[in-house]
Structure formats: structure tokens, C-alpha cells
Amino acid sequence: MSYIINYRVALPHYRISDKVLHPRLGRKGQHAICYTDEDIITLAHQAAENLGESVDAVLFATTTPIFKDRYHASYLADLLGLGEGILALDFGTTARAGTDALLMADTLVKSGGTYNNVLVVASDVYYPGIGKETKAPFGHGAVAIIVSSNEGIAEITQAKSYSSSLSEEFKYKGSDTQYDPRFTRTEGFKKNLGLVLKQEEIDPSTIDQVFLNSPYAKIGFGQLKKAGFDLENKLADDQVTVDVGHMGAAHGLSVLTQMMKGTEGTIALFDYLNGTNYIELKTKEIDTSASASKSEPIESYQDYLQLRKQGKFTGKGYQNIDMFSSEMISEREKDTLIHLVGRKCESCGTVYYLKAARCNSCKGSDFKEVQLAKEGAVYSVTSEYYFPNSFGPTNMVVIDLDGGGRITVQQTDDMFPTEDNKIQIGDRVGLVFRKMMENDRKPNYFWKCKRK
């Protein structure tokens, strides 16, 4: 038996609406869009951080090219402090990579014994071409799910996969498809879906909510109806696409979490691209855990273009600066830099973020390691205009962390600085994991802060 025992969806703070992207089309959707310092790793970290204890495996799904920079499961496992003994696997290439990973997690847990808690993370950051936003309902975000042998929110009752070798509407850059693209839809998608639906274990009459995740979903509806699915009443609304856009490899899992929230009973998800994954869940009760995070709209196309451009860190402020990054420093200091391990003076109790031979308060020399909190209060703050970030001054914030320790970091998600939203002394802030400036070689991840 395998269960989903916990999950979290991580979305960027900013949204751009269809009204801004293509005002004449009358669409009412929104797209979650990364800030300059976010990428699939920071989103994946945000989704998976402290989600489950004693994780045995990390399965990371994305269609953002794996091995580019540091975007892979092993790096994520390291960031999450899961150690080197962890099974870390990458799933990519197709938009069903998210459910691929979930399927594998289910298989690992059901194999019995070795894998009792498997962390599945799907994260995608995809941009359509400038001016071509209508072509792809993009949205950035990540979903993390813990699949466990312990009972939890929902039992995974079925997880099956059928493969299809047809090349969808894949095009080489700059070339047009030479054949009728409907071929892959009818011969690939419909045929493949048909194979799944033939399965005796699938009993449409027991399904309380169903969703078909595919760019061609509509042409599959006839088959689902024919197979006995009550689409009039049981088809789930894809609120994810409306609220945050299509999340790529994370989309199927994102809709799945949404269905889990609203349903007590049986949930079925068909996830198709180059094959079909069928996932069936039985939820015990309606999940009422909070999920909404605060967001802020980007109200002009100009700002959106600027955000995309600045996301490459080529803004004026950084233009001449080649950030020094060092694999050695990142590796040897990761306990401090990534895991926020501080040191508490054994004699006077003062907590330090940085290592020193002696306590600066009582001169004691015995320290024990402590985990620093990720929340605290602002002790002092300034805005650096001489070293601006992409949209305004770089705000440097000195924070006294709850439970001791002080850290000084930059503020983030500060695209629209105003006098009113400026961080002030005494404000409550939380640390978030973001990318520092990067050079061409290696992104540097560190903590920044946001007002609570």
C-alpha cells in the first residue's frame, strides 16, 4: 500500500494576467512568473522544504534541461540536507515527467521494505517566445509530494503507464512540421488512451472526480464518456491553468493536489504526453489545509519584459560585475550557507551565524551547533541605490532571528518598491531560498528575506 501523506505547491509571488499579455483575446487567466532570483531549484526547494521526515528517495521532474547548471535531483537532495545515501533520480523530457515520478514513487514504496518515504518534486520554469504568449498558457511553479507506506491524506490505489513513441507536434527549431499534426493526436493520443481505458481495474462508476491532463484533452473526452466516465458531473475544473498557468511537468501533480482538496472519494488523473499515466487516489476526507499564498500582479507588458530580461541578470546594476562563485566555498560552507546551522555559546547562550574561535560576548570557546530559525525581526535596514537590483535599490536587512542569531540578507520580491512597502525596523520577516547574482558558470543560492 502507498499513500500521499503530505504535499505543497510553491508558486512565485508575481502574476501576469492574460488581460495584460494579450488584451484583445478576452481571456481571464493569470500566469505565475518567477522573480529575477527564482528558478526551478528555488521553487523546488520552497515546495519540498521540511515536507517530510526520513525521506529515502528524491525523484525530481522537470522539462527544464537537466544537468544545465545545477538543475538535478542530487543537487536538490543536497539542498534539502538528505545526505549522500539518498536515491536521487531525474525525470524529464516530457510534460508528464511529474506523474512519471509519482508512478515511480508508488512503485518504490509498494516494492516493500527499502523505500518508505519518497519525495516527489516537479518544478518547471518555461517561457514562451516574446509576443507568443498566446501559444502556451505558461505558469511557473513546483509541487512536492511525499509518497509513503504510512497512511495519509490519500491512498494511491492505481498507478499505470502506457508508452507511445509518436513524436507529438515536436518541431526542430526554425522548421515546420512536414506532416499533418493530427496524426499524432489520433494515432498517438487516442490509441494510447484507449489502451488505458481497456484496463479492467478502472471502474468509471466509482470515480468521483476525473481529470485528463493533455494539450489534446478535448479530443479524448469522447473516449472517456464512452468508457463510462460521467464528465458532465465528475470532470474536474482545471483551476490551476486559470490561476497560475500551465505548470509544465508540475501541472498534472498540481491539478491532482487541487482535486485532493475538493474531493472525498476516488480521484482519477490521466496524464498524457508521449504515453499515458493513470493515477487513481482514494482520499479519506476533504483536505482543508491552507494553500493560498499572497501574490501581486504585474500590470504592464513592459514590466513583464523587464522581469524576463532582468531574470538573466544582465541589468545595468550587474552588467559589469562578474560574480565570483566557487564550488569549494559552496561545498565546505553549505551547513552555514544552505542549512543555516549556527553555533550557540555553551557558557552565555549567544547564538552566532558565523564561526569564530571565541564568543564575542563572553569569550567562551565552547559552542554547540544549533538550527537557526527562518523568521525574525528587523534590527536595521538600508536601501542601496548605488548597487541597485533589477527594479529598485537593493535592500539590505539585518535580522535578529527567533531563538537567537543574527543574519544580514537582501530583500526579495521587491519588484515594485514604494514608501509604503519598505521594510522597517521591527518588521517581522521570513527567510526565503533564492539565487544570488550568477555568472555564466554557476548559480549561487542563498537566503533572502520577505516581510511576513
Binding site: 566555498i329 550557507l337 552566532y352 542601496e384 544580514t408 544570488m436 547574482m437
Partner: protein, 396 residues
């Protein structure tokens, strides 16, 4: 720790024009300052027995100032010991401290301390900030500028002590007024409170007019032991006390929960040493003028308290009451300070000693502090990490 008065006299003073000296090289500045100082002391270059050269940022010039060699070469001083001193903004004062110690130890009889910095061969925004970001730790305080680090102090002081933007700007107004009286200053423009407050923000709450300019310049002193002073030939000024202390780190103030950002411990520690040697117990009564390190106007405000010129939280009253203006109870930065003179980092500490010594000699000109007998200089470097205090006296 024992801090003994060292019985050292300064007999030669030299300072170049400070500013954007596009037509003068590092070597030109060294020669200008050194020759002024030896001429003032009435000695030839050959009489110099040891030298200390302070340059803080050779990387921004053409790698000039990396070692003592760069003092020897332009002056043809081959064959004597010369050491480069690098201690952030306290570099210049530290070169004088080292020269004083060597004289006191009998290692040499005539010493030269020369500070020089050539910063304007590059665009300012292409220099120190860029270097700090490129070469510093990839994560900590990335993008923190000097203005930003002191702005962090300013914000906290405003929060705790009710210091206002006007109080901070008042320092700039005062020092820019003093600067109009100094023909060697980089900027000789008086400004109003409104002009300071309305000038572009550098790091909240510090504006451009609260920040010292990026400047080229050099200054030099010739020093001997007290007993070697020839009263007929020299016009000596004596060193009553020298203190230097490293009291925080580069990162630690920003990662130390006990650091209150309300004062500079380094200044307090250095002042304690220097005052101890000089026998000063009531600074306000025993000192006639002060040159402090006003790299940003807030630093001058804090330093009043750290030097014991007033109690904690009272610095704003000294500015409001104009007691540190020329003609006031204790004039501070009558030279115009770093805000007017500019801040060629390695030269600044030496420039201040030249200024105070000139005042004590009675050669202050339009900005002469009447009846000045004892004065001090103060530097602070890094994020408030390193400070120096030198007490100068007309009498030994």
C-alpha cells in the same frame, strides 16, 4: 596593556591638492607630498632613514602601492627599510603609528610616513563596489557598499536616539562650509540643508551630499624623537598619544546579535589608548580641535560620542547647537573633512595630522582655530572595524 607616551615630534608637513588629479600620477603625488614635507623639515631626502607608505587600494590604481617599493622608487630612496601599511581607512594613521614606534624603539632617527591614493584613474562605479562584489564572499552581504554599512548604523541611531535626517545633513552643511576655507579641498562649495536632503539617495538615509567624494591625493610627515628637535630649525608638533584598535570584523557586526549599531567600539578602544598616553580625562576640556573620519556624515555624529565629546544620544545636540563649527566650543573638521577634502583612503589619516599640526602651529589661515594647543585626529575603517586616534600637542 601598557600605553606609554612615545616622545615623538613631527617636524615636516606636506599635503598635495586633493581632487580629481587627472594630470598627476601616483608617483607625481608621492614626490609632491614628500618634497613639501622634507622642505618644511629643512632636510634632504638622503636624511630619511626609514619609511612607511600607506595605500589601501592598489588594485584600483595601476597596482601602485602594493609594497614599500612604491615609496622608494619615485624618490630614489634605495637602501633603507620601507614598509607598506594597509589597514583600510586607518592606513594613513597606522603608518604614522608605525613610524612613531620605530623611532621610539631606536630603529631609526628620521622617519617618513606618507599616505597616497590614486582612485580616479577609473570611474568610481567601476572601482571599489565592483571589486567588493567580484572578489568578496559569494554570499554574505553581497552588494553592501560602504555607504550601506554606515546607513545601517544611521537607521538604528535614528530609531533609538531620535536623530533626524536634518541632524545628519547638518554635518554635511558644516563641513562643506569649512571646505570653502581650504584651498586644498576637493569640493569647495557651501551647501544648504535642503540641498543635502534633496540630493540623490545613496543608501537610505545617506544622500550623495552625505558621502565623501572619490579623490586622489597624498600627504606626508617627517618625524623624529623629541630630543632630536632643533628648535632653531624646526617648528615641531608632538605626538601625545597614538591608539589603534581592531574591534569588530568585516562580517561580524552584521552577524553578531550583540552588536547594537549605536557606536563604534573601535573608536572607543583607540581613544582610550591615545587618551591614556596623553593623560586626557575630560576630552571636551582638554582638546581644542578635532579631525574626524566623516566619510559619511552619520559617522561624524557617532564619533562625537565615541570620542567622549558628549554622552550617548547627545551628538545631535552638538550639531543643532553648532558647537562643532569653526568658532564653536570644539571645532570639528575645520579642514572640511572627508566630505569636502575627499578621501584618498591611504592619504586621509596623514592629511588630518598635517591639518591639525598646521593649526597647532598657528598656520590655519582663514580656518584657524584660535589658541589651539591640542588636537586629535580620528579614522575609522571597514564597517566600523578599525579605528585610530592620534593626539597632537604644541608642547612635548
Amino acid at each position: 596593556m601598557m600605553h606609554k607616551k612615545k616622545n615623538i615630534a613631527i617636524i615636516g608637513l606636506g599635503v598635495t591638492k586633493f581632487g580629481e588629479l587627472f594630470n598627476q600620477s601616483y608617483d607625481d603625488l608621492v614626490q609632491d607630498a614628500a618634497l613639501q614635507a622634507t622642505q618644511d623639515a629643512g632636510i634632504g631626502l638622503d636624511e630619511i632613514q626609514a619609511g612607511w607608505l600607506s595605500t589601501a587600494f592598489p588594485e584600483i590604481g595601476v597596482f601602485k602601492g602594493r609594497s614599500g617599493m612604491d615609496l622608494v622608487e619615485p624618490l630614489n630612496l634605495y637602501g633603507i627599510p620601507v614598509t607598506r601599511v594597509s589597514n583600510f581607512c586607518a592606513s594613513g594613521a597606522d603608518s604614522i603609528r608605525n613610524a612613531a614606534n620605530a623611532l621610539a624603539a631606536g630603529e631609526c632617527d628620521v622617519a617618513m610616513a606618507l599616505g597616497v591614493e590614486k582612485l580616479r584613474d577609473r570611474a568610481p562605479q567601476d572601482s571599489i563596489v565592483k571589486m567588493m562584489v567580484e572578489l568578496s564572499h559569494p554570499f554574505y552581504q553581497k552588494g553592501f557598499t560602504a555607504a550601506g554599512t554606515f546607513a545601517i548604523y544611521a537607521k538604528r541611531i535614528m530609531h533609538e536616539f531620535g536623530v533626524t535626517n536634518e541632524d545628519i545633513a547638518g554635518v554635511s552643511v558644516k563641513n562643506h562650509y569649512h571646505g570653502t576655507l581650504n584651498d586644498k579641498a576637493h569640493h569647495r562649495i557651501a551647501c544648504s540643508l535642503e540641498q543635502v536632503l534633496k540630493s540623490p539617495m545613496v543608501a537610505d538615509p545617506l544622500t550623495v551630499m552625505d558621502s565623501c567624494p572619490t579623490t586622489d591625493g597624498a600627504a606626508c610627515v617627517i618625524m623624529v624623537r623629541g630630543e632630536d628637535v632643533d628648535k632653531a630649525k624646526h617648528n615641531p608638533i608632538y605626538i601625545d598619544g597614538v591608539g589603534l584598535s581592531v574591534s569588530t570584523g568585516w562580517d561580524l557586526p552584521f552577524f553578531d546579535p550583540k552588536h547594537d549599531f549605536l557606536s563604534f567600539q573601535a573608536t572607543k578602544d583607540a581613544a582610550k589608548m591615545a587618551y591614556g598616553q596623553a593623560g586626557i580625562t575630560k576630552p571636551l576640556d582638554e582638546i581644542d580641535l578635532v579631525e574626524v573620519h566623516d566619510c559619511f556624515s552619520i559617522v561624524e555624529l557617532l564619533t562625537y560620542e565615541d570620542l567622549g565629546l558628549c554622552n550617548a544620544g547627545e551628538a545631535k545636540d552638538m550639531i543643532r547647537g553648532k558647537s562643532t563649527q569653526l568658532g564653536g566650543e570644539i571645532p570639528v573638521n575645520v579642514s572640511g573633512g572627508l566630505l569636502s577634502c575627499g578621501h584618498p583612503v591611504g592619504a586621509t589619516g596623514v592629511r588630518m595630522v598635517v591639518e591639525v599640526a598646521n593649526q597647532l602651529r598657528g598656520n590655519g589661515g582663514d580656518r584657524q582655530v584660535g589658541g589651539a594647543k591640542r588636537g586629535i585626529t580620528h579614522n575609522i575603517g571597514g564597517p566600523g572595524a578599525i579605528a585610530s586616534v592620534i593626539v597632537l600637542n604644541k608642547e612635548n
